[in-house]
């Protein structure tokens, strides 16, 4: 079967434990997929059956979601998965088995249209799409025909009013500085953390490995929380105003920059590190001479890019009271003063465009 010249892959014999664990994984994946397919099928059935609720109105998607038979679907799904995994030789391997153990030889060269799991996969994507269509209440017709309602808004945007120009410019300056301060405060913290979050520098001892895991976990969590949420947290901490916005963007920037920085550290050339270690240098000296010079240019580039991102984000932060131009944009949107909204949106667009241009130029120079 295999080419004589191709490198032979060495397979280690599986222990019974590993085998059992993989079978369990396959069963779990297939069970969940089948159960999901059943639930979505039931959802679509309800949605199209014209069923009415106790109020006599058609059921809303939320109401349907509330009354689906989840547990029976789960039980049925897992029963189906079990059968499918047991008889995969005669009906074709299920997705979970393929993901955990690879495609069985007899199916290796079949196109997806000739396998059961191919058809199941296609059906699953289809179900997901239509379920999504209904849950998010997509209304194509309204979207295409009701344009005139929004037209005065668009007209307003196209004919900006000069009245908020002054205030807008002042707050735009605040926005750019807000983003700058958030980035500046983030640099030293992210820089220090990135060494602890780099795999290749934390293999030495058990303490270092624990530090790595802790820093990584905290960073991932911090990054997962949206800056908007951080803004709300810091507003209740330091009060409404630009400083809350600085803090919100700061904490998010620390996590993002530390991740980018540490990935850069992980990809450095080991050579200078070895050479400096060999001179009898201490750990900090090795970092300073072997690591830092290699990572400074990409760090600078990431940092400027981050400032750019922060300018964009600070607009949204302003919506909830984190300072910057978003702060005066929100009430005008609520009141429907589209001319003034237009001015502010244009100001933001110009600022973002200039930042983008400048940061791209600087980054080109550095790297």
């Amino acid at each position: 079967m295999t080419d004589a010249g191709a490198p032979r892959r060495v397979l280690r014999p599986e222990t019974p434990w590993q085998k059992g664990w993989r079978r369990l994984q396959a069963l779990g994946i297939d069970g969940l997929l089948l159960a999901l397919a059943l639930v979505m099928g039931e959802f679509l059935f309800h949605a199209f059956s014209g069923e009415r609720g106790p109020t006599g109105l058609l059921l809303t998607p939320e109401e349907i979601l509330g009354r689906l038979a989840y547990l029976p679907a789960l039980a049925l799904g897992f029963a189906g998965a079990l059968v499918w995994n047991l008889f995969y030789r005669s009906i074709g391997a299920p997705i979970g088995r393929v993901l955990t153990r690879g495609v069985p030889e007899e199916e290796a060269d079949l196109p997806w249209t000739r396998t059961l799991r191919g058809w199941f996969g296609a059906l699953f994507v289809e179900l997901t799409f239509f379920t999504g269509w209904i849950i998010t209440e997509v209304q194509l017709v309204t979207f295409l025909t009701n344009f005139n309602k929004a037209s005065d808004m668009v007209r307003g945007l196209a004919s900006p009013s000069g009245e908020v120009l002054r205030e807008g410019l002042v707050l735009l300056v605040q926005t750019v500085f807000l983003a700058f301060m958030a980035t500046a405060f983030a640099i030293p913290v992210a820089f220090a953390l990135s060494f602890a979050a780099a795999r290749n520098l934390t293999r030495g001892s058990a303490t270092a490995r624990i530090l790595y895991s802790v820093v990584r976990a905290v960073m991932n969590f911090t990054r997962a929380v949206e800056p908007l949420v951080w803004a709300l947290i810091f507003i209740s901490w330091v009060g409404i105003g630009p400083f809350a916005g600085v803090l919100a963007l700061w904490i998010h920037s620390v996590a993002s920059l530390a991740k980018l920085y540490s990935e850069q550290i992980e990809s450095i050339d080991r050579g200078p590190v070895e050479a400096i270690t060999a001179t009898g240098a201490s750990y900090l000296q090795v970092l300073r001479y072997g690591v830092v010079p290699q990572v400074v240019p990409p760090f600078l580039s990431f940092t400027i890019y981050r400032w750019d991102i922060n300018v964009r984000m600070s607009t949204i932060i302003g919506f909830v009271g984190g300072g910057g131009i978003g702060y005066i944009l929100k009430p005008r949107v609520d009141l429907g003063e589209w001319g003034e909204v237009g001015t502010l949106v244009l100001l933001i667009a110009v600022a973002v465009w200039v930042m983008d241009l400048v940061s791209a130029r600087i980054r080109e120079r550095i790297v």
Binding site: A275, S282, Q285, R288, G290
Partner: protein
Amino acid sequence: MSATPAPSGAREAVRVEGLSKVFPDGVRALDGVSLAVEEGEFLAVLGLSGSGKSTLLRCINRLIDPTEGRVWIFGREITAAQGRELRAIRAAIGMIFQQFNLVRRHSVLQNVLSGALGRSGLLSSLLLHFSDEERRRARACLERVGLEGREESRADALSGGQQQRVAVARALMQQARLVLADEPVASLDPALRHSVMRHIEALNREEGMTVLCSLHDLDLVQRYATRVVALKEGQLVFEGRPEAFDGDTFRRIYGHDAEPAAALAGGRA
């Protein structure tokens, strides 16, 4: 943790006993290597690619921790040393690499100065600051390798041969007593090899540094080495004078299919 004195020979620069290295993936790169190098020797380490030359040199200054065995450097056991003591022993060992391994974005002078890190104060060295005395010494080292006037160039602006001479100057700056050179001229133009090898020879002859140098080229071995060892699959299979290591010895050790001129690129059988 006090290092045990070496079993014998006060004039011994390196003593290696029963050195083995098994990498985490199961590769046995060194297999019970024992070896003694006298002070002042120029020892060539030969062997086919993958025979363990680099691993041996890196175990000697503990860039790689050996799995088994012990190593003494000038009578101090480096395999038992930790922290400050390990760094002090390393400070006496210069190292020259095939890929030069300079800090590319630093100036030539800064690269030479980094040889003094082992004896510099932590804070000032983290600020890239060195005393006037050290800077004078670094300039003198650069002059020795014929690179005066290039002090302020960025290291990566230099040619390969010049970069390797900076690495030699770094070993000089380090005031090393032992130099490990891992195929120092393998990535250089053949025409430039002697220019670098002569500087390494000068470390040996003029500064009295002991040199351990892995080489691929039989020609260079016979021209520069005072003694030769050869590795095969991690084991020491030859030890003797360079004159004794001719084409026939080569074939006897590496098998009859091997051709010294081909396997040891540029070598003369």
